[in-house]
Symmetry: D2
Subunit: 456 residues, 4 copies
């Protein structure tokens, strides 16, 4: 029987798309798809063709009758959509290279999700996602927006706060990796563990219990996070090559023990800033920042994708990093469609799940996925070793989004000042100014300031 | 294979016990029981024998090798227990009759769970449950306490707050009835609906969504709660005879519409106090208060239980009211034992689930039942049509428990003043004084005041 | 030198006006008045003439050159005003008689400020005050609104929340009486005591310290509130005849001791509801409800006011009740004008002063009066003997205002259900319906419902 | 007439003492002193003699009969004291030099109040202040503790939280300087302005209004904080030489405009970290860190103090920095003693004054000083440009105090990680380790860890 679901993927020309298609195919029995629309922009047309054709071959090889449409016309695609996933990058990987290299050129971590680079990415992305939301209100008012464009938490917050659109879920693969690490350390099957995650995108902590109800958090900390080399080993041990976006350096054991809850891998930027910076500067010197590596990997991937014989997701995609990302999106869509009550970690409205943050902000927490979207599981409150840092990060996010929406330079500077990854003062200003000018083309709301900076 | 679980039921001579045994038998494949201990006190010895023998016949008829022990020695029973369920009533049904009739003799609703009667029940019960907890700390420190002794929310709160024992869950059958009512009204299967409950024991509200993610709350309100006779019809329509404890009177349609969320049946005491009082006064005049009716029903039940041929739960038990109660306890125990992640509505620590109440108070909310106990699902915040009333009730509970623990008469009077079901002033004082004297035997902590009152 | 302040009093024909004028005269050195405008409506024209002429004689006798204008044209009066005080009663005392007698006819306390009567008064008053605010935005955008129209707290809340006008202060004489009672009980001069008040209008508590920093709260409770007859004695002992609006009945000593903080006189409605109701029903039977008594007193006062020889506030005004009210308004205006930093108890935005209530609601708290208005002094949090009751009252207020603004009958019924002074259920509905019909003329927003009720 | 107040100053040999004595003399009519006890330790004996004799000469020259006692016996001094002021430095200025130089030797700001240095100062000071509190409980249970030992906020928090002593007030001169700066910028008399301060010690913001009630905050920001060189000019313009502890560098104008509220001078460490570090490194290279400069200044001061002809506070003391500090202490004591209701900015329990922080933490806010101590004025909530940063700093303080009390190295490392002035990671650990070893003598609670570090 012909399916009835219409799925739209904005940024459809992404190298991730094969994983997404694979994810849908894997769930074909639960997800009666009729059409998949891959949307991209003019600059991404070639990639869209390549990856779109691969997608078609994959669907065909799976013996499915799904229509795969490729288009540059976003509005045509959105018409009557059921699910819209977003995985675009405004300015493409060239922009990410700037996001990472410009701060590093001043001896500062770039970090394309929560650092200076990530803030610029938010400035570029937020206006576009808000445009998409406006289109959705008109063309597919019942659709769910499944975002995995980074900074995923900020983008989700912007959609809810400024787009006034609540049918949005932010996704990330980091919690998935965290679960695998814990399961590996405990030598347990992942499905035999119960996890509770609380925090923000790329800035969350978790606790874990076994099937007997015993908390195993301290044991995981001890084996993985408070042991020199423990994390590296844990990640090697994983089936997948996992999160390649961040270098593999050990936390400080004493601080980990005091935490009492398990950080995510991105916490290394905040907890061992000096080592992370050192590693990134070395990569910078060699022209091997993560952005540059990814760019090369992507070029290779697209070469592979062109192969007309290829009709499955090539294993090399895992080297790209971001594994599990698209699969999580497929699982989320399937859970909403089937009201599965799956437990997933998503960015959604707090509603009291974390007592230390206002009800109306977006957090990344363990949630039950219903047909009406995610319902968070209560985390409770953090203690003083984490609470204030979390609250600061949320306010950094809110101020970044404020700047992204208003184009107010002073707000942007404030957000830079708040960010723990950016040293405050003239250096913050210098990096901000340089990034603004570099991204001029994709920052329509900051034009006046950029012209002023260029005139200097 | 011989099971390994030891279950202890305090108040084992209760007429409910056959439902409990039936519930365990139904779950025999998930719950490898070794021993069930039914504990009671001297005054309940005869009932314990009767119901205990029925329990043994039931177990035998089911072809199970479970040992069923009957004892008056609580400490012997508690030794190495895995689960302890509590369903006792200090002072037996005679005490309940006083709880209900003394307030009514002054024209005031008694309400043995949240009214004046319920507060006295808390005064009698809290010291006993705290004793049980002290025994558990010594004899079975890893056991879970599953409480369905009323007032279930207050008892659970007392155990956590004054007993410093977190492995406790409070249970009630009201949410189960509410679910059935909603399913009936929507002509949907219960398992196809998603519910979120928030509030306190016998004082909660809920919302409901269907399989397509559409909120059906307004439709349920419209059909059942804002329609004259709607609730009566809904409850007749239920398979079970359900909650017989409270009379069947309609809410005010306009107020229900404004609420926007669905009340529980007990809200009638607060929302249509006048009609409820009128009905109760009629019953009082005829000697047919709920306590008196239950007493007669129980006598009949125990006659039935004596029948040596009887080896199943007799259908007449449902007339007793409280259906589903024991079944819920069995399901809870099974879920904890098997880490089932079942969704149940239980009394547990708030932890932010309801933003309008402190993190550390006990609330009755939708929760996921894990091997480590319940984890609440976020409710979020209430609006002004419910928030303040909920907050008042919580503080009435806290003040009642404070009085129960301290035996402080002034605190007891304050609690009476706070309770919306008790008119404030001399009448509250009069009812309180009369109840204290009437329950003299079971209120060791209030002895000084009671002697003073008697001396008058 | 000619003054420069323009003061407008809406409801200028009130019998209180002479106290107001006296208050201004007393402060003539701090308050350089140029014009006083007394505004009233057509129905109040005669009273306006009488009291206006007395005001002129008073000003003249004081040797002042202030212009006293009498007008029915509110907009003319408001033009360029500096301070606008509001003391009007929509529907005049006839309406108050209905507010009090209709509930009493059903055996329910009327209470024209926070009871059923007060809610109807809010329904009539809120739309009018919001109209005044709209005029002020246009005609005197820098003026302060000093409200002492009851229910003073709700009116102030409505102005801030729905009028979006923050330059408003709500005033009441109850805290002033409370201070005098405490000073009398402690045999201290009022100015030697330090008070902290927290709560809502007619629903606040206070604590008191002496010059040595010792808290004297318990002593005041002991002497006045927890002693039979103590409050009566305390009020007789006062210089003024004080608050005549509420009968003089003793609190319950035990409950007072448990409170630990001092209630206001209006708390008797909530704490000893039965005695208050009894007393009110007796007055009702005799046609001597407070409204009726006041109506007669007022008639006598206006006879006195007509005397062309009278050029001071006649001492008989104190029998009217509400003493200190107008004086408080004069002191407030003087404090704002001179940035005096006076400590006063006013209705203003919470801003955290009471931790148990949201930041953005109006509370009645001790404040410092600056040229920019009141800044509250931190109260902190209440304990469980008061917190929930306070939170309920705030939500009752919010729901009442919601109904007043929207004319939504269901919201009105919800507000009645929430009010602890109104028994819930059909009786609440009956009283509400009867009051709506009785006040038909002054409830434009409820017209559709009223027509429906009349058609029955 | 002989006075009756006994004042004890712990750290009485401080160079500040003459200002304190001057402050008392200035207030002699309001403060009937009988005895002043200057207490110090063996190492400070010589200074105590010098400054104590100057104090005696000052008192005598003022024609007062106050007894000035010098002692090394703290318990003798504390007996029956009315006010105890604390201004000691554990480890003397030598310790401060380490606090500042060790971090700088790793390229990190030392900052002896809120930076790495300040945390070590807290580790040394908290156990001592808690000992003093224990003595006070026994010897002078009614006395007030007036603390101006830095880090003043943390010390006050430790006294309340771990000492369970609420009669403590923390003082600082920074708010006094801030007021003078604003008054100068606005060309207004300080007493004609109304200020509201909110935040933490050395980490607060303020707003200001003029006598007409107009907010002047933006104007002050514009003139002083968002203008290059504005702050320098403002501080030169001050009568006193003011706060010499921190270098004079301009804020970022854009960030200041976005703030909307006025930072304190210490915010430069957080807002323009790079420039501050640069300046401090230059001083470090030259052996002119603030600690070293102060040490020299002090030596000069004590030479002056020795002069037997000197009987007034020498003007050179102002160069020491910390002007107004002791005067503030005298004013505070006088205000408590006389129940003056003075407005002062002090460290005291939050109690809701700042909605974004828990009720029970210590904050530095505008307060009314009564005989019962400070009562905070409501600040309300911060917006996202400041809230999270404030919350982080509070948690850094709490974690620092936790470490100081427990001697837990992991907690200390966590506190270093949380501090925005300390780069996270191995460098934090290195600095912490080095500081612990360097301060070995004054860190009894960290001995085990220090031995471990030394063994490496």
């Amino acid at each position: 029987m012909k399916g009835n679901i219409k799925i739209v993927t904005i940024g459809g020309g992404s190298s991730y798309t094969p994983e997404l298609i694979e994810g849908f195919i894997k769930r074909k029995d639960q997800l009666p798809i009729r059409e998949i629309w891959l949307v991209d922009i003019e600059e991404g047309k070639e990639k869209l063709e390549i990856v779109g054709n691969l997608a078609r071959r994959m669907v065909k090889a799976a013996g499915l009758d799904w229509e795969v449409h490729l288009t540059l016309d976003r509005r045509e695609a959105l018409k009557d959509a059921d699910f819209v996933s977003t995985q675009f990058r405004v300015g493409l990987l060239e922009a990410r290279i700037k996001d990472e290299r410009i701060p590093l050129s001043h001896g500062v971590i770039g970090q394309e999700t929560n650092g200076a680079g990530g803030m610029l990415k938010a400035f570029r992305t937020v206006p576009v996602i808000l445009d998409i939301v406006e289109d959705m209100k008109e063309l597919c008012p019942h659709a769910w927006l499944v975002n995995f464009t980074n900074p995923s938490g900020m983008v989700t917050e912007a959609v809810m706060r400024y787009g006034a659109w609540d049918k949005v879920v932010g996704l990330c693969n980091v919690p998935i990796i965290c679960r695998k690490i814990a399961a590996g350390a405990l030598k347990e099957k992942e499905e035999d563990l119960f996890f509770r995650f609380g925090g923000l995108n790329h800035f969350h902590w978790h606790r874990v219990w076994n099937k007997a109800g015993e908390e195993k958090t301290a044991e995981v900390i001890d084996k993985v996070y408070a042991t020199e080399g423990g994390l590296k080993k844990a990640m090697q041990g994983m089936n997948s090559s996992g999160v390649r976006n961040i270098p593999d350096i050990s936390f400080l054991p004493g601080q980990m023990r005091h935490l009492g809850i398990i950080p995510c891998m991105y916490h290394r930027y905040y907890y061992i800033t000096d080592d992370m910076l050192k590693e990134e500067l070395e990569a910078y010197e060699k022209g091997e920042t993560r952005a540059e590596v990814v760019k090369r990997t992507e070029a290779e991937l697209f070469e592979l994708y062109k192969d007309p014989e290829l009709n499955v997701k090539p294993p090399q995609l895992e080297k790209r990093g971001g594994a599990f990302y698209s699969d999580a999106a497929c699982e989320l869509i399937t859970s909403i469609y089937n009201d599965k009550k799956t437990h997933m970690v998503v960015s959604t409205k707090n509603n009291g799940a974390i007592s230390d943050l206002p009800d109306d902000v977006v957090v990344e927490v363990s949630s039950i996925i219903t047909a009406n979207g995610p319902v968070p599981i209560s985390w409770g409150s953090f203690d003083s070793s984490t609470r204030g840092l979390l609250q600061l990060m949320k306010d950094m996010e809110l101020t970044t989004i404020e700047a992204a929406v208003s184009g107010d330079y002073d707000a942007a500077l404030q957000a830079f000042t708040l960010n723990p990854l950016v040293p405050s003062g003239r250096i913050a200003q210098t990096i901000l100014d340089e990034l603004l000018v570099a991204h001029k083309k994709h920052l329509p709301r900051f034009q006046a300031k950029i012209r002023e900076l260029e005139a200097k």
